[in-house]
Assembly symmetry: C2
Homo-oligomer: 248 residues x 2
């Protein structure tokens, strides 16, 4: 009965860890490769020419500013699906594209529900699941994350979407909310992410931290999060290596 | 992209169903048989004699009154683990049992995290999962349901515990909250339960309903929920039959 037992830290920092929660976009799934693929498919089927890679990157570039508008109270609580939709509508004119019909906009927004896992992710998660409770702790909404898990066959035990908390990471409510729902103390929960900012917020609240660099998340020109910028509890090359390091 | 597509009802009532959420205690797992087993095990190990079956039944009998105290605002929001704990402490004196040490009380309360699935449940759920989003919609807290899913190997896509809503069924917030998190309209969600009251609340809100009678849930003397008391959308003999009837 994990949530009821008092467990004590003994030895290594991870020895008391009962659950590992993961950032998802970039850490578990290759959003960029998948999105470019989906956009090109769409263009092919519609006979549309467009710089799909740049559109994918511009679309993702709208992510942080939009989350920040919600985090700072400039925008009422809005789920990521709707932020994705609005961002797409706003960016298409930059590429001199004719307005797309609503069903196409919804279909493309749904591409974020159909992203492929990094090659190591499913094996790593399957192994971690034998020993830990695992789940996403993502800025995606729950329905997006459920659909994504089915599409990419991610073997989660539980799904934490930002809409459970009505807060986006790195707001503290997300990390502490997941710990509370799990009935665990922060030091019993490890945050796994490819992004240093996410781990910094988690560490500040007492969670354990695992850095899994994804140096191609943003494509070959990536300049951020190429390496750990703090001494995280674990630095793993990928999720299989994380399973090794966590004894799973 | 299930949550973004407008789907229309065509033909049978269940043709638009995208998700099936389940009552868990009684419907998916055999709480009574498992609990009696756990209590007897505990008694054997401790050398304690007690009418364990009656204790199990009395423990469960405290369930509805305690939930109702929360539902009516007589008690602040309290998760089921804590209600179980308090109920156990209160009932032991009835059986002239000496006070048990705190770790034993916590251990026994944790028995509710370690219940076995009915024999048909795992196969039925595995099949349903290939075609639908499936998850518990239970009065258990999320951590209880996560632990239970790991123990009983329930292949859920998502976990809805009452603590996500801070309401207990049959409060409307639970059913409508699950639909909202799934990004689905009520008629796209089916409630599966062995309890007519649960389905009545779900139907009132527009959800589809599936009755799965569990005539031994309360043991051989069961007098309630032996049959459907409304014409539910589906009446299934068990979860394998439900998978058949839902084409999964």
């Amino acid at each position: 009965m994990p949530s009821l037992t008092t467990s004590h830290r003994i030895g290594t920092p991870q020895s008391s860890v009962r659950a590992v929660v993961f950032d998802t976009f970039g850490t578990v799934v290759d959003w960029r490769g998948s999105l470019i693929h989906a956009l090109k498919d769409f263009g092919m089927e519609r006979g549309l020419e467009a710089p799909w890679e740049r559109i994918a990157d511009r679309w993702r570039a709208a992510y942080q500013p939009n989350l920040d508008r919600v985090r700072r109270g400039k925008l009422d609580w809005t789920i990521l699906d709707e932020l994705h939709y609005t961002a797409l509508v706003e960016l298409l004119p930059e590429f001199s594209m004719a307005p797309l019909p609503e069903p196409d906009l919804r279909f493309l927004t749904g591409s974020w529900h159909r992203l492929s896992a990094w090659p190591d992710a499913i094996e790593g998660l399957r192994r971690l699941r034998t020993k830990y409770i695992i789940g996403p702790l993502s800025n995606g909404n729950l329905s997006l994350l459920v659909n994504l898990a089915k599409f990419a066959e991610l073997p989660w035990d539980v799904i934490f979407g930002a809409d459970l908390f009505r807060h986006y990471k790195p707001d503290h409510e997300t990390y502490l909310g997941a710990c509370a729902f799990l009935g665990l103390r922060p030091e019993q929960v490890m945050m796994g992410a490819a992004h240093n900012y996410d781990l910094a917020a988690a560490r500040e609240l007492g969670l354990r931290t695992a850095f899994i660099p994804r140096r191609m998340e943003h494509g070959p020109g990536q300049t951020t999060d190429l390496s750990a910028d703090q001494s995280w509890d674990i630095i793993a090359t990928d999720l299989i290596d994380l399973a090794d390091k966590l004894g799973a």
